[in-house]
């Protein structure tokens, strides 16, 4: 299983599944992070504790724990 956390910088992937539950899932969806959406990884913070991704035209910062809950596949 490949997650958003495993992706290298500048890689473009498609979201397959959100393994988050309840509030967090709603939160991710409200940011446009949902199934079938294409995501580009922009930047890693020091020690890869946080990552920055681009969804549509929006840049979003995620903590590593949250990124690990997002299953993706290569496009």
């Amino acid at each position: 299983m490949r997650t958003l956390f495993d992706c290298h910088k500048a890689s473009k992937v498609k979201i397959v599944k959100l393994n988050a539950d309840g509030d967090l899932k709603q939160r991710l969806i409200s940011f446009g992070i949902m199934k079938e959406v294409k995501v580009e990884v922009l930047e890693h913070a020091p020690a890869k504790s946080t990552i920055e991704v681009k969804v549509g035209k929006m840049r979003i910062a995620l903590r590593a724990e949250e990124a690990k809950l997002i299953e993706v596949e290569q496009i």
Partner: protein
């Protein structure tokens, strides 16, 4: 009055109350600020520390009130702001919604719009930042869009003021016309379920303000308010099984076990459809945007943090260097003001109350206003440009280890200057628990007012060369202790799952001067108004406690002695002894004596106990109280050599260390405590803070006392 009457007699002014909503960073506040001849009214949403801005203006025969609701991505209840917006939209008293949309990111913004369309209220869409969109080669067919979704869409720009009048005109027009059905369409499977529910509601002639179609949609997507409304209706018994069945179908169709997720996908595809129809973007070659270019430097894995630290350093330099210049004048002014007023009051007690109590107390609060203005200007700038999100991105890794949030950094660092703006700036943390935790440990960052105490004690026990290092050590150990406490609190009192960190990194923007100024002015006025009133009362209390009861016999006997001697030095000494004795028998002194036993294990005498308790009013008071108690007269500052001498003679080294530890940790000054309570949102948090800081201070001081006694 209903609308038909209003048309018949246009002389009577009608009120239109507008709810202004949009996703974060769409320039909502800027739009509301660009309405000409508008009155701003700033307050709080009831019960929460969320700023509520209302804009009042007149247009034709209408009187407008526009409520600026906090930005929200969708109808979620994650942060206080989102809760406030959601609640206001569902239950608030307003007539019409203006939905502000960022034209440069239409599809994403429609996410909120499509949810608004299912509400019973009328909606007008403001396609904001249209000038920017056009520059990017984006062309939106607003007329077609209005037709497509069934609500007026108006192109506006807060910067160029284009379309503002047209927007207001559209709102009045919409207000005057009857509610029309919005055109929000879903996939076939969902439409089938909607049709069934509508048919059912129609059959029972269900009475409602909202249309049957919207009720059906809200029921299907599990909207709590709609459920609550229908739950008590007789048709609910029959409706429930139909709903359960419908929910199953939709979930099956979306291959998801979550109806909210299924609906999010439905909305997303509707939004995609609308965007594809109305938006036309000239093909541009894939070049990096300005934001991406700036970000490649500002959130660079290596350079990012040093650059940020430089910005912070500059901000604090500005705050405390420039801020200190007017401070001196404010101080002079209040001294002059006190003297002038004092000269007009004949009664000694009343004069003392007004001059030493009220004016001195309020003056101490006003003293910090320049610092607060500069600091908030800096923070408003950091936030307004979008840089604050980058800071959180960079620092979250480190702070998360201690259970804090990346954005906690700003209030914590501010705490080194003064706890009051620090508590206020904790508002940038949108999550309740993160904010509370940060509020609890701000006090560990030693504020500027504690510096005199440290200087005094470091000077008394160490050589001048060493004193600087000791000072640095005190500050650093305070900060480390704070981080450790955060971790402990997180593992105990604030236990629970970690709050997720998902945050937009908005485009870099240059905020207008007006917007920044408005933010700063609001914050400053709030500080002056609230802290000012409480402070005046509290200063009077402290003044009372340290001046009463009067012992006339004592005073008279000393005054005769003072008069009888010719020796100036002796006169001074007698005067000091009188002050000391007066303080000893005052209520404050009684409290000090009473609490002495509590502090005996730390090696404090009653004088130190009193000084500590006086420090609850303001930390600067500790030094002057010690000065009075060790009989050196009132005009004592940390440079006073003889006080240093008196302290090193009268206080043992272990007691001094324990004293410093207590000063470092215990409750911040009264003004700060009041601000803390307000920001935390409930008085109970003040008692928690009091208990927490007292216990930690006592334990740490005891350890320090025992340890140093063992060593030396």
């Amino acid at each position: 009055m209903n609308r038909v009457d209003a048309k018949a007699c246009p002389i009577i002014i009608n009120h239109i109350k507008v709810a202004l909503v949009g996703q974060p960073n769409v320039g909502k506040s800027m739009l509301i600020n660009s309405v000409s001849n508008a009155h701003l009214h700033v307050g709080n949403f009831s019960g929460v520390t969320v700023d509520k801005t209302e804009v009042l203006f007149n247009y034709k025969e209408y009187h407008f009130t526009v409520v600026d609701l906090p930005g929200t991505y969708a109808f979620t209840d994650y942060t206080i702001e989102e809760r406030v917006t959601h609640e206001y939209l569902c239950t608030g008293d307003y007539d019409i919604i203006i939905n502000v949309v960022d034209s440069t990111n239409l599809e994403k913004n429609l996410q909120l719009t499509s949810e608004l369309l299912t509400m019973s209220k009328q909606v007008v869409i403001a396609l904001n930042m249209i000038d920017e969109a056009e520059k990017e080669g984006i062309n939106i067919d607003a007329e077609y869009m209005s037709e497509l979704i069934g609500v007026p869409c108006i192109k506006v720009s807060a910067v160029t003021k284009e379309g503002i009048d047209k927007l207001i005109e559209a709102v009045t027009l919409k207000y005057e016309t009857a509610k029309s059905q919005t055109k929000l369409y879903f996939s076939e499977s969902v439409e089938e379920e909607i049709a069934q529910l509508v048919w059912y509601l129609d059959k029972h002639k269900f009475e409602s303000e909202n249309t049957y179609r919207n009720i059906a949609i809200n029921l299907l997507k599990g909207d709590k308010t709609t459920y609550a409304k229908l739950h008590d209706e007789p048709i609910w018994i029959e409706l429930q099984p139909i709903l359960i069945e419908a929910g199953k179908h939709i979930k099956l169709h979306h291959n998801s076990d979550d109806i909210k997720e299924a609906f999010a996908e439905e909305y997303a595809s509707f939004n995609r459809g609308v965007t594809a129809e109305v938006l036309n973007q000239k093909k541009q070659e894939e070049k990096r945007t300005l934001t991406e270019k700036i970000d490649s430097i500002l959130i660079h894995p290596v350079l990012g943090i040093p650059i940020f630290l430089f910005f912070m350093w500059s901000l604090f330099q500005l705050t405390f260097e420039i801020g200190n210049i007017p401070m001196e004048y404010i101080d002079i002014f209040f001294t002059w003001f006190g003297d002038t007023i004092g000269a007009t009051i004949a009664n000694d007690d009343i004069r003392s109350l007004v001059v030493d109590g009220v004016i001195a107390g309020v003056g101490a609060v006003v003293l910090f206003v320049p610092n607060i203005i500069i600091l908030f200007m800096g923070i408003a700038l950091l936030e307004g440009t979008g840089y604050m999100s980058r800071v959180a991105f960079l620092l979250d890794g480190f702070f998360h280890k201690f259970g804090l949030h990346g954005q906690s950094f700003i209030p914590l660092v501010t705490g080194f200057g003064c706890s009051i703006p620090a508590y206020m700036s904790a508002r940038i943390l949108k999550n309740d628990r993160d904010r509370l935790l940060t509020l609890f440990i701000i006090g560990f960052m030693s504020c500027g007012a504690r510096l005199p105490v440290y200087v005094l004690f470091a000077g008394a026990f160490f050589s001048p060369e060493m004193a600087g290092n000791i000072l640095f050590f005190i500050y650093v150990s305070g900060a480390i202790l704070g981080l450790i406490s955060a971790k402990i609190l997180k593992l105990t009192a604030f236990k629970g799952k970690d709050e997720p960190f998902v945050m937009e990194m908005p485009k870099y923007r240059l905020p207008t001067f007006k917007l920044i100024w408005h933010t700063v002015l609001t914050k400053t006025m709030m500080y002056l108004k609230k802290a000012g009133t409480y402070i005046a009362a509290a200063s009077m209390l402290i003044w009372f406690l340290s001046n009463y009861p009067h012992n006339i016999k004592l005073t008279q006997s000393y005054e005769t002695k003072i008069e009888q001697t010719k020796d100036i030095v002796l006169k001074e000494e007698l005067h000091n002894t009188l002050n000391e004795l007066e303080l000893e028998q005052s209520y404050l002194g009684v409290i000090g004596k009473f609490s002495e036993s509590i502090f005996t294990p730390l090696g404090f005498d009653w004088k130190m106990s009193v000084a500590l308790q006086a420090g609850l009013a303001a930390k600067e008071v500790v030094v002057s109280t010690l000065g009075v108690l060790y009989a050196l007269g009132n005009d004592v500052d940390q440079e006073n050599r003889s006080l240093m001498g008196a302290i090193s003679k009268n206080i043992s080294f272990p007691s001094a260390v324990a004293f410093i530890v207590v000063i470092m940790i215990y409750l911040p000054c009264l003004a700060a405590s009041i601000v803390f309570t307000r920001e935390a949102g409930h008085i109970k948090y003040f008692f928690y803070l009091f208990a927490f800081t007292s216990v930690v201070a006592y334990i740490m001081a005891f350890i320090a006392y025992t340890f140093t006694r063992f060593l030396f």
